[in-house]
Symmetry: C2
Subunit: 339 residues, 2 copies
DNA sequence: CCAGTTAATGTGACCGTTCACATTGCCGTG
DNA sequence: CACGGCAATGTGAACGGTCACATTAACTGG
């Protein structure tokens, strides 16, 4: 006898089956696009589903398959433009593939918090992990944990099964530095991000590599913390020392602070000092002066992350080529005054 | 006979029970901190759990309780500082309460995408929803859907069970406007965000209310789209028209574009035109000139969101007072030149 | 000293899927 | 025409928790 689906709970596969006059397993097959279902049967089942407004219960499915269709994102400082944009792109790409994304934000300096966050994500049963804005510490936490999970990050760990997505930070940094060299600068400083950040390190490496290629002596980087304030402090030092005609900042926010400090010190940019940033945040074109910077395509980065991670999960191979950021030249750089 | 837990799958409550020599239900009780468990028994069970590295299976629990311990966040333009910060704070607060957060990013103008995103979240079985940066359209989509879910947003819908968290945007806007009035400005324009944004509307209302209170005639707002570019365009218009001594911008990014355009037009800020922003993004203090703006406490906002939402879910009452943003005075505002 | 309570624990069903393994027809083939 | 094979579907048992309802033993009061 066809009974109405027990109300109170949402309709289940069995309610659909009963009304469509098939077995629950047939309904399940329709859900999973099993090949050997007669089109006619499929239609009928789908019709009933529509009528009942049936939605598959994720928990039940996850219970039996032990697959959660959820990816985890572990992020430090996600209020910043770069990470935030990446997270956004990652979520979209994952959703398009039917995955859910769970982002956890941590203070990258707090090892306990990182561990707790990781535990949180594992409790959730994530199938894969993306690590955004990794600091060395975050990284160590992952490795020390002996994580079995497929994960994607911005630098290779050398472990089997790890999939590193490389944005070629080194080349990006070289392009910024080369631009300054080509303009004729020889006394160039680098304002780096915190040294325990993988990206900061890569940009330092790129900076030095380019200097070396030009036959210039290495120059000790100043260290900031990504904030405009730290850029301001660095700018004060640079102005005080007064022996530099160009600065390459590891991100745009610090470059902004730099511009501020140089201006306050009575120095003209680019007349006295040229400044290059990194990221091309939306504000950069409107700084005073508009900032020459290295553009990162965060959207593309996010999409690649997901492509790579899903490939790792599914065991399909992907050929992965590094993303290379572009130099965007604006008014904050010019030839040094005294050639 | 005590058999080793079947390997392959993670240990279950029954594995723990067998080894600890109790029933599976006792283990369940330990998990749920049931009062009538002898401390001695609890210890034993906990010890076994630790030994086996047992973790409760969320899917199984969700299946039987129909509670997912997951909250949804629906966000538009989450790469911006405000939304990104809020999301971060929300996630932290939720995690501290044992909830998972699933954020979905949409283009707020695409109604279909909003619906799809909502479906995505509902499929997940979220217990509550936070809507960030709501546009009227997003809002309508929620309401038209007749959502049964507890949700939190920035403006009341008037529906039963809806919980609005008010950041008092109107007062914030009034403070900004009053500051300009107190400096002696009388010809003030407002650069608004897109008119379909609830926040943009509130700031317009605040702006007009304050003008009216001062006995000044209303001033038609210019409309931007939150980006620095739109601020630049608005700045060009303002410079061309030349009849204004102060501008209140609905966010800091547009204010940045404004500063840029005014400078390009040869106008001095604050000498010729004063500018006030809104949000106090970390860059604002380093703009040229440093920007007077209205500070929003996004962290506090995120925490309140979660407190309110959990209260709605649990049915506990909360007394909710509006968050009022503060005016931060910097160098971009001054008395008008010709008093 | 026994009925009634309560603290501490056990038993079996159930949540909504998928999985492994039947069970039907129907077709072609030797 | 019996039979293997395949296409289409059905059956019952997991999955790992919680829930409702026993059960047991110790404790109370009259």
């Amino acid at each position: 006898m066809t009974q109405p689906p027990a109300s109170g709970r949402a309709p289940s596969i069995r309610d659909v089956a009963r009304i469509a006059g098939v077995s629950h397993q047939t309904v399940s097959r329709v859900l999973n696009a099993h090949p050997s279902i007669r089109p006619e049967t499929r239609e009928r089942v789908l019709a009933v589903m529509g009528e009942l407004n049936y939605r598959p219960n994720r928990a039940a499915r996850a219970l039996v398959t032990s697959r959660s269709a959820t990816l985890g994102v572990l992020s430090a400082s996600s209020a910043q433009y770069g990470p935030a944009s990446s997270i956004r792109a990652i979520e979209r790409a994952a959703r398009a593939e039917g995955y859910f994304v769970n982002t956890v934000n941590v203070d990258g300096n707090d090892v306990d918090e990182i561990q707790a966050a990781l535990t949180h994500l594992l409790d959730l049963g994530i199938e894969g992990l993306v690590v955004i804005a990794p600091q060395v510490r975050v990284f160590d936490a992952l490795v020390s944990r002996g994580l079995e999970l497929p994960f994607v990050t911005m630098q290779s760990t050398g472990r089997r099964g790890d999939h590193a997505l490389s944005v070629d930070q080194i080349t990006g940094a070289r392009r910024a530095t080369r631009h300054l060299l080509e303009l004729g600068h020889t006394r160039i400083r680098h304002l780096a991000g915190p040294l325990d950040w993988i990206e900061a390190e890569a940009r330092i490496v790129g900076f030095h590599a380019e200097l070396e290629a030009a036959g210039l002596p290495p120059s000790e980087p100043l260290v900031g913390d990504w904030t405009p304030e730290s850029g301001y402090l660095a700018g004060q030092r640079i102005a005080a020392e007064g022996d530099v005609t160009a600065v390459f900042s590891s991100n745009d926010q610090m470059a902004l602070g730099l511009l501020h400090a140089l201006r306050d010190a009575g120095l003209d940019v680019p007349g006295d000092v040229s400044v290059v940033g990194f990221d091309d945040i939306p504000e950069a074109a409107h700084f005073w002066p508009p900032l020459t910077t290295v553009r990162q395509d965060f959207d593309e980065f996010g999409r690649r992350c997901i492509a790579l991670l899903l490939a790792a999960i599914r065991g399909t191979p992907v050929e992965e080529r590094a993303l290379v950021p572009d130099l965007i030249v604006r008014a904050s750089t010019a030839a040094p005054r005294a050639l």
